[in-house]
């Protein structure tokens, strides 16, 4: 049985699964239910200055997949709408009752040093394991100069991070917004400011859809709406990419990362960890299915680790980072060609339609006497794009087989077809 426990910037947790700062971690009742279900840690929903924020009614909307399952989730909820006093009291009590679990407190304050100094002392007194700086909230709070309004300016990120490190002994995790052109810049700033870690991604500016009768976006508040923050399975690819950017960046290499974005099962978690994350945070999946999902996540991760011979999280952490590189370093001599397994083919012809209409006309269609069609690959036309494999509904029916012709590795910088190549 693999050891799932982690020590993330000094914060110990029996497993890498934390609940992200969000509605599920707004109060003691929810957090204790999460611990009871087996979550390794939580990031308490963002505290702010009193008076507490006030939320609107009608807060979430979603994008659904073909089966009606939620593939993307959008919210316009602000930070906690409960008073600082109540939150701090509950955090103290919960940490006392659950000493073995991670409890990180998310914070969002105006950009004034004294304000941050005061709140840090209060949080430290609760016994919480660390703080996460919410520089990412994309809706509502930026209009007041907080959240993403800070995260989008690297200088502010660095400044506030530095204050936090100066005025607190707690580990400081800086939560990054994806609503920025290059996520490496705020990550570098966080590091310069002394951050112990970064967590990413916060939610992405989003409108999940327009109600075409009401002519307004959802969620609708009295006929009007506003953009929200997007999360759930749909954002995972963006989150993984940003995680890899920071993991690969020489300036931030080694900076601990808490991965967030569309994690709903053990595989998602393993992918973030493979790209360098030391802990993962979950929200949407828990909001859709409840806290019990952590059981399958732990079990699945452990079983997979056993099957691979990984004894602990560090054994596979970051293993995919060296394999995530720049386009220009990819091997130009590598070649794959599609192969269709006729025994498995059900004759839907999606591969043909896709290749013929939108790709390289590399698939043939032959009509059979019984009215069915047989599909084949024209090897010379196939560029190995994978489109047919993607459209094929049958597992392992279309495979992309390597047909490299024995030539050595050669990247674009060395390729004679590149007019800007670097001469040897």
């Amino acid at each position: 049985m693999a050891d799932l426990s982690i020590d993330f910037v000094g914060i110990k947790s029996p497993n890498p699964f934390w609940l992200a700062s969000a509605p599920p971690t707004d109060k003691a009742y929810n957090v204790e239910r999460a611990y009871e279900a087996g979550w390794g840690g939580v990031v308490w929903k963002t505290l702010g200055e009193d008076p507490a924020a006030v939320n609107v009614s009608s807060r979430y909307s979603a994008l659904y997949d073909h089966n009606g399952d939620v593939s993307g989730f959008n919210n316009i909820e602000l930070i906690t709408d409960r008073s600082l006093e109540i939150n701090l009291r509950e955090i103290t009590e919960v940490k006392k009752r659950w000493p073995d679990r991670a409890l990180v407190v998310s914070l969002m304050m105006p950009c004034e040093e004294q304000v941050w100094k005061r709140i840090l002392k209060l949080v430290e007194a609760t016994g919480a394991d660390g703080v996460e700086l919410n520089f990412g909230c994309p809706h509502g709070m930026p209009e007041r100069g907080m959240g993403a309004a800070v995260g989008q300016v690297p200088e502010y990120v660095e400044m506030v991070t530095r204050w936090c490190k100066q005025h607190s002994k707690m580990p400081v995790i800086v939560k990054l917004t994806p609503n920025i052109t290059d996520v490496r810049l705020p990550a570098r700033a966080a590091k310069s400011g002394g951050a112990d870690a970064v967590s990413l991604i916060n939610t992405i500016n989003s409108i999940t859809g327009i109600d075409l009768d009401a002519m307004a976006a959802r969620p609708m508040v009295d006929g009007k709406s506003t953009h929200g923050g997007y999360c759930g399975p749909a954002v995972k690819p963006i989150a993984l990419s940003m995680t890899s950017e920071i993991a690969r960046d020489p300036e931030t290499a080694g900076l601990p990362i808490s991965g967030i974005g569309g994690i709903g099962n053990w595989k998602d978690a393993a992918e973030f960890i493979a790209l360098g994350a030391g802990s993962v945070q979950v929200c949407t999946a828990a909001m859709i299915y409840g806290f019990n999902i952590v059981e399958e996540m732990k079990e699945g991760l452990s079983n997979w680790m056993d099957s691979k011979g990984y004894e602990n999280i560090n054994d596979f952490k970051g293993l995919a980072v060296p394999n995530t590189t720049d386009w220009k370093k990819l091997n130009m001599n590598y070649k794959v060609v599609a192969t269709i397994d006729e025994d498995k083919c059900i004759g839907c012809g999606r591969c043909y339609q896709a290749c013929e209409d939108t790709s390289h006309q590399a698939i043939t269609v032959t009509s059979n006497d019984d009215g069915t069609n047989t599909f084949g690959i024209i090897d010379d036309n196939c560029v190995g794009c994978n489109l047919c494999e993607i459209t094929c509904p049958v597992d392992d029916c279309i495979t992309m087989d390597e047909r490299s012709e024995g030539q050595p590795y050669m990247n674009w910088m060395e390729d004679v077809r590149n007019p800007h190549r670097e001469e040897a």
Binding site: H66, G68, C348
Partner: protein
Amino acid sequence: MNMDNSVNYSQQQLALNQMFKDINPALSARQAGIESSRCYYCYDAPCIKACPSKINIPSFIASIHADDLTGAAKTIYKENIMGGSCARVCPTEILCEQACVRNKEEEKAPVRIGLLQRHATDNAEFEGHPFERAASTGKRIAVVGAGPAGLSCAHRLSLLGNDVEVFEAEDKAGGLNEYGIAKYKLTENFAQKEVDFILSIGGITVHYETALGRDISLDQLKEDFDAVFLSIGLQDTSSLYLDNEDNEMVINSVDYIKELRQATDLEQLDIPKDSAVVIGAGNTAIDIACQLKRLGTEEVTLVYRRGEEQMSATKHEQQIAKNHQVRIKTWSQPESIDVDDNGKVTGMSFRKTYLEDGKLKGGDVQFDVACSAIFKAVGQKMAYPDAEQLIPTISNGKIATFHNQLTSIDGVFAGGDCTGVGQDLTVEAVQQGKLAAIAINEQLNVSITTPLATALSA
């Protein structure tokens, strides 16, 4: 087609409806959404090729999935104006759903095309009729018989700008949809609602209780109209050629089903209480057997002289019979109808059969099945009216058709069960009516033909 169920039924009618609830209930919107997502939107889709009326199935399913039920229904009606009843009565298990590529996957679960088609046609809402008639051609066409073939032909002719007069022997239109389909397949008053929907295009006049050979003649129609379409269906039933076959409790299944479909009260039906024997192996045999069970006949035995494999009822239909606890006896041929001294049917005697060199032979074993009623479902035949002078060429007992549903008589076309092509399915009748209409229109209006696509996109 709007499924308005606000019609006021009597208590008796409601009781009957309850007894004949839909055998294949409609999908909910949620179910339809999920089911529609299962369609692979195939290239050169096998389901279209398998559909006798060539409905663009992947297209209408994609429309359902995109919440465009209007578009879905229009795609269906473009090829098959009786898409609503076909969705209910088509043996999809041997047509579109058999062709679905998902049968070749491990789950072997085709997309439930029939139910999706029903979802679209039941729930699409149109302001008026979905299609607009093309400019008038000034041509008039006579259609004989208001069954699926006749209605389909009339509708397409009207769509293309022609005026149509339909002559129907019965007092209602719909043909077998109204009088012959098992009551649990087309429930409530669906057939008439569909007729109203088809006629709402305008340009079609129906003359009821007007029969060929009695009230009208082909000769006269040819004279009065620019073209004639014959869709007179089948009028006669095959015989068992046994003594006592004229006993009142030896019943033609099609007649009984017709009575049942028109009944508003159980009291109107003569229902065998204890036991009945059904002779036959087609869908009509299955239909009558199941309906008798629903009506309360304790023991229903369906007897067929050959084996299950040879039954023309599909496996799916056979399973429906088994689900209704109908006893199926195969390899048994009727020998006598047994009647007591008072002339009451008491049972039937059978002889076991076997195949020898492909020929059916009677064996040594004989057995009796006690019953108080016998329902014949051994096939229907066309009986072209004796009084008619002008008779198209008949081949194998049915009206012979040539290219484009044309008969041997110039200007006279035919389609549906009275012709010899296909398996006498509703959907085939619809297609034949449609093809005849297109051919008639082209023949009559070569110079002024409105391109079909233009008419349909109106």
